[in-house]
């Protein structure tokens, strides 16, 4: 099986604190990491390769330092990686991003499967995966929580929706976006880290992927961010600090009163 995993480098935000006054993220010491939700796609790809043989290729679009994301993917068990980096790509929205990723994946044809994370934790759109499928006219399914069966021309997968799980049979080649229920991503191995250190990573720009310049970057993006605001998140509610049992009882009564006042009980 030849599997392609498009990934994204994002700022590591899980331990970031918020400035209570400005409501902005305290960015000191924030490191770039692989989008945590992409790790499930990488793991799924590596597991399929281990079972059926083949190759997993990670692809990312980003600045030069995004090569670290590819290296980490290789350290986790991917065989190869491609970095899509060029100033013409900068400022791309999900439409222009999925365009470039789709062109790069076309260059890597033939393949059996594309695995994407559900969405990136920074942009939080989840639009690039389905977008790639549309560009390549591939069958696609989103929110995949299990891969049940794999045959030469079909996968049986489970899709997590609001009210339950759909079981779907999907023709190969196809694109799946996966959710974290799918697996437990492995840590990078020493062997993988050595492979990552020794790898040669192609860096592709618009010419290599044969892109139409008008479709690239900010210029090619149909959407425009016109304003950025930092929402005031603090609610300045009443916080009680009971010192003994009696005060705790009063605090819990206060909670019930609050609920009564807001028609919860």
């Amino acid at each position: 099986m030849k599997i392609i995993v498009p990934i994204k480098q994002v700022p590591e935000t899980s331990n970031v604190k918020m400035d209570p006054v400005t409501g902005t993220m305290v960015r000191e010491g924030v490191e770039p990491i692989i989008n945590p939700l992409d790790l499930y796609a990488i793991e799924a790809g590596v597991q399929l390769k281990e079972k059926f043989g083949g190759k997993v290729i990670a692809v990312t679009m980003g600045p030069a330092k995004a090569e670290l994301a590819i290296k980490e993917a290789v350290a986790m068990g991917c065989d190869d990686g491609v970095l899509l980096s060029h100033k013409a790509f900068a400022g791309a929205d999900t439409w222009a991003t999925s365009y470039v990723l789709a062109l790069a994946i076309k260059k890597l044809m033939p393949f059996d499967l594309i695995l994407c994370g559900e969405r990136a934790t920074d942009g939080d759109t989840g639009q690039v995966g389905p977008g790639i499928a549309a560009w390549l006219d591939l069958p696609f399914a989103t929110y995949i929580s299990a891969i049940r069966e794999t045959t030469a021309n079909e996968l049986v997968v489970e899709r997590m929706v609001e009210t339950g799980y759909e079981q779907l049979a999907i023709e190969l080649p196809c694109l799946l976006t996966v959710v974290k229920e799918l697996n437990y991503p492995r840590l990078p191995t020493l062997k993988g880290k050595i492979a990552a250190r020794n790898m040669t990573m192609p860096v592709w720009g618009p010419e290599e992927v044969e892109a139409i310049p008008e479709n690239l970057g900010l210029k090619g993006s149909p959407t425009r961010v016109v304003k950025i605001a930092t929402p005031q998140v603090a609610r300045f509610g009443e916080i009680v600090k009971p010192k003994d049992e009696h005060e705790l009882e009063k605090a819990v009564d206060g909670l019930l009163d609050y609920m009564e006042k807001h028609a919860i009980i």
Binding site: N15, T24, D124, G126, L168, E181, R224, V225, V233, V252
Partner: protein, 333 residues
């Protein structure tokens, strides 16, 4: 550009129209009024309940376009994308909005690529410039730490998904009515390379947390899975749903569909009780639109208290049993 009217993409399950459709109609109504155009609801399915279709007018639609075909019974990406794309080409709407559900977030990105046009995900606010018709789309990004306002100035239709349950439907007005147009599409558009084999409904946790008005959520402070039962106890008493932080899900005390936060679900209940959840940026991003947030946490510096309307700094092992007992008393008939 001749594109006109505001469209919403409704959703149905087993022929019954879902609540998110009515929520979208409220959003759409405000835009259509400001722009002085028609609000059109698009419904795809096999056989959609006739009363439910009439009710779309009560909730704000001026016109309803229905496509009924066995191939549209359940959501499958290709038939849905192709059918809606066909309708967009035929009628040329100026705006197309869908709910940011698993359906909306799947159909819309593929449609946007095909149109081609811009798409803004998971908006919490929509407004329109009445002259240009430009949709003014506001959405949280970067873990909810910023609010971005986004436009799609040169492309039509402008497309957006709207966060489910981020607004309530209009009060239904049964005097309103309108035209239902039944469209057919060529069978070639309904071909699917995906087959739906079966469906397994969620049983545990009862209601889907995104639909819940009341959510009780627990974090890693519960220490072990047996203690997490207290979250269920309070949820049962309040007829609410159980949610969990990422830590609690990773520890196996709750399932991924119950995870709240940036890498889980975004919720906007009327009442959110967070117990032993410190309130990471990720978690807070998932509850920002909750109406009332109450927190119980032993750490007075926990971030969750910043967003709480009411908070108790206490050990959950003392506070929760007391809360359960007092709730039982107060809820006695």
């Amino acid at each position: 550009m001749s594109c006109k009217n505001v469209w919403i993409l409704g959703e149905q399950e087993d022929g019954r129209i879902k609540l998110v459709t009515h929520e979208l109609l409220k959003r759409g109504r405000a835009l259509a009024d400001k722009r002085q155009v028609e609000l059109v609801a698009v419904m795809l399915g096999e056989k959609i309940d006739r009363d439910d279709l009439q009710k779309l007018f009560h909730y704000g639609a001026d016109k309803v376009i229905v496509v009924e075909n066995p191939g549209l019974l359940h959501f499958l990406p290709e038939p849905y994308v192709n059918t809606v794309f066909h309708l967009i080409k035929k009628y040329e709407p100026e705006i197309m909005i869908a709910s940011a559900t698993t359906t909306g977030r799947t159909v819309m990105p593929a449609l946007a690529v095909k149109c081609p046009t811009g798409l803004t995900a998971d908006c919490t606010e929509l407004d329109i410039d009445p002259e240009s018709g430009n949709l003014i789309q506001t959405r949280p990004a970067i873990g909810g730490n910023i609010l971005a306002t986004i436009k799609t100035p040169m492309h039509r239709p402008q497309m957006a998904t709207v966060r489910p349950h981020s607004n309530k439907p209009l009060d239904p007005d049964s005097s309103r009515s309108g035209e239902i147009v039944y469209e057919t599409v060529d069978n070639s558009l309904l071909k699917s390379r995906i087959r739906r084999l079966e469906f397994r409904k969620n049983t545990e946790g009862g209601a889907n947390i995104q639909d819940a008005e009341i959510i009780i959520a627990g974090g890693k402070g519960f220490k072990k899975t047996e203690n997490f039962q207290m979250v269920h106890d309070v949820a049962n008493l309040l007829k609410g749903a159980v949610g969990a932080s990422r830590d609690a899900v990773d520890l196996g005390w709750a399932t991924y569909p119950q995870q709240i936060g940036l890498s889980g679900k975004t919720v906007s209940p009327k009442f959110y009780l967070a117990v032993a959840i410190s309130g990471s940026v990720q978690h807070l991003a998932g509850i920002k639109t909750a109406e009332n947030i109450v927190a119980i946490n032993s750490d007075p510096d926990a971030q969750i208290f910043q967003v709480a309307n009411y908070g108790i700094v206490a050990d959950l092992f003392e506070a929760m049993p007391l809360l359960i007992e007092k709730l039982k008393n107060r809820l006695k008939p």
